[in-house]
């Protein structure tokens, strides 16, 4: 039994890696198809010109992304940089989760998803022209979720004041939570980490790592890049995972 418990993190990592796999690369951007998909599935929220001002945008508490400024929350690139095609594809495929209205469009065909990624990029051509220079972060293998690692993570949780927004118990009820707004001035709500929902950027350990390292551009979630090392980031992920996200498991030794 202990062996199984020890293997869980490894299995989780393997699963997470599988989920986060890059999509098949598009052969040629099919902008005609991309526009068709966009008008069919995206336009009501993101608007005809991609400004995030579609017909239902005014009804939404969390505003749809404005594609024209090239800022995206979920990325494998450093904070503030344009995302990779695979980032956009992943978000389309999986949705945004939490309190966000962006659904998963996994039902679209692969070429349709690739096409709409290409079309979305046309809303911010100058930004995405620098996409080739964007530096993709590397996610190292997960540090084993040992008692020591989790304790270390707890230390960092306190040190960098995660609880200020997420609350000391991860319930999203930190002292700053009521006052949080995004870069556009809209109110945002830190997720309750104990709920079994999809966090923005994903709920698997590898997703948490990426979110911590890159931050969520435009939101109040900062990057830990420059504050924590890669190992310390994994420690923090282990702490979050074992204490808030998937509690109830035996803490490995």
């Amino acid at each position: 039994m202990k062996t199984v418990i020890r293997l869980l993190p490894v299995l989780g990592l393997a699963l997470s890696t599988a989920v986060a796999q890059d999509p098949p690369a598009a052969q040629e951007p099919d902008l005609v198809l991309g526009k068709k998909v966009y008008l069919q599935s995206c336009v009501v929220c993101h608007g005809i010109s991609g400004k995030g001002d579609g017909i239902v945008a005014g009804n939404l508490l969390v505003k749809p992304r404005n594609f024209t400024d090239g800022r995206f929350k979920v990325r494998m690139t450093p904070n503030g940089k344009v995302p990779l095609d695979s980032d956009l594809y992943r978000t389309i495929n999986r949705g945004m989760g939490h309190d966000n209205a962006m659904p998963a469009w996994a039902n679209l065909k692969v070429d349709e998803k690739n096409a709409v990624v290409a079309y979305i990029k046309t809303f911010a051509p100058k930004k995405f022209a620098r996409q080739d220079r964007a530096k993709e972060i590397v996610i190292p293998p997960r540090t084993a979720a040992t008692v020591e690692s989790i304790a270390e993570g707890e230390k960092w949780f306190t040190a960098i004041q995660c609880g200020k927004c997420h609350g000391e118990t991860g319930r999203g009820d930190g002292v700053s939570a009521p006052t949080l707004v995004d870069s556009w001035g809209y109110k945002i709500v830190p997720p309750d980490l104990s709920k079994p929902w999809l966090f923005i950027g994903g709920s698997e350990p590898v997703d948490l790592y990426r979110t911590l390292r890159t931050g969520l551009t435009g939101s109040a979630m900062p990057t830990v890049d420059g504050t924590l090392t890669e190992d310390q980031t994994w420690d923090l992920v282990n702490f979050l995972d074992y204490n808030f996200i998937r509690p109830g498991r035996s803490v490995p030794r």
């Binding site: 008008l39 069919q40 336009v43």
Partner: protein, 380 residues
């Protein structure tokens, strides 16, 4: 890639009206009057769910979209179908998305064609032998039905426009509102099935053929009173405003309705002129009074003589309200309506079998009214 959906509905369903009752702030007051009006002799309401089969769907073509429905229903508001007549409903709407302040425009039309109950489920024509026997034996009235005057229809046009004011705020008040402006115009017509003989006697108090003299007098002066179809037109225009998404909504709406050939309002009848002298009231007249006061249409009792052409024939209503979800789990809804003239009051009791009365045929009466509705909702 799917660019549309098609849906087949069988059973009990709401017709796809341009503006569903479900979008109202509450179902407590202020119905969409032109949908809810109950004018036909069968109590048909356009807004009531019907039993039948329908094909509806949505087809998107870039920024344009078509929405449609074709339905075959029994027109009995979901009640057990008591006749073999079937009704048809069709709806077509076109919409287009726009960029900027104007977000979308939708234009549509609807058509409903129905038949009043002319045959029972066995196919026997109305009036059935039992009906004829009853009226013949009891009152010497020859009841018949004229199939030529047995249909009814509704047609309407509608529009809906979505606007979005660019986000800005005035102090703490955010003004980047989303606004939906909408309107419906609808025309309705009900034939008068005329299940009574034009030359029938009124309910006599005594003497020959049940007071036939009085009836003959009415019929000769204004026979249209007996075969008067019901027509109406009206609609509503309104605005739904999202002040704070998921938090605070405002609504405002104006309904109006004009009925022609309606049953007259005795309030506006000819002063001092009675359909019949009070002393000549029949047994049935007495029963009517006992159950219902003195409200009968057509001035058939001792009411003041009511001239339908002089009656109050229009009503209007303005409604405003808001929905405020101010803290979980409490939501506050407030709605206010002010109406000039009422529709559908009073209605005859259902136990009175007269083809006109049992229909719940309403009238516009000169009574103004105001309603306030405050509702707290708790949703945990």
């Amino acid at each position: 890639m799917g660019t549309g959906v098609v849906n087949l509905k069988i059973g009990h369903f709401e017709l796809e009206l341009p503006f569903s009752d479900l979008r109202r702030l509450s179902s407590a007051i202020a119905p969409y009057e032109v949908y809810a009006i109950q004018g036909v002799k069968g109590s048909f309401r356009l807004s009531s769910p019907q039993v039948g089969i329908a094909l509806n769907g949505y087809k998107q073509m870039g920024l344009n979209a078509l929405r449609y429905e074709a339905a075959l229903v029994n027109g009995t508001n979901g009640a057990f179908d008591n006749n073999v007549e079937k009704d048809f409903y069709g709806r077509l709407a076109f919409s287009r998305l726009f960029d900027g302040f104007l977000k979308s425009v939708r234009l549509g039309g609807l058509y409903y064609k129905g038949m009043q109950n002319l045959r029972d489920l066995a196919g026997n024509p109305y009036p059935t032998a039992a009906m004829r026997d009853y009226w013949g034996d009891e009152f010497s009235i020859n009841v018949h039905a004229n199939p030529e005057n047995a249909s009814f229809y509704r047609w309407g046009i509608d529009a809906s426009i979505d606007l979005k004011i660019p986000d800005f705020s005035l102090g703490p008040l955010p003004l980047g509102w989303s606004i939906n402006l909408y309107g419906q115009y609808l025309v309705g017509h009900d034939d008068d099935i005329d299940m009574t003989n034009m030359n029938m006697p009124y309910f006599g108090s005594s003497g020959d053929a049940g007071g036939g003299d009085i009836h003959k007098s009415l019929a000769s002066h204004d026979p249209d009173w007996l075969t008067r179809p019901f027509d109406y037109s009206g609609g509503f225009v309104g605005a739904d405003i999202i002040v704070l998404p998921a938090k605070f909504y405002l609504i405002g709406r104006y309904d109006w309705l004009t009925a022609s050939n309606q049953w007259a309002d005795p309030v506006d009848g000819v002063d001092g002129a009675y359909v019949r002298p009070a002393g000549s009231a029949s047994w049935l007249d007495g029963e009517i009074r006992r159950y219902n006061g003195d409200p009968m249409p057509r001035g058939m009792t001792s009411n003041l003589q009511a001239n339908p052409d002089d009656a109050i024939n229009s009503l209007s209503r303005i409604s405003i309200g808001f929905r405020f979800h101010f803290i979980q789990p409490v939501t506050l809804i407030y709605e206010y309506s002010s109406q000039q003239n009422l529709w559908g009051f009073p209605e005859p009791p259902p136990l009175m079998y007269n083809p006109d009365w049992v229909a719940g045929m309403g009238r516009i009466v000169n009574v103004d009214s105001n309603w306030h509705m405050i509702m707290f909702m708790f949703a945990f």
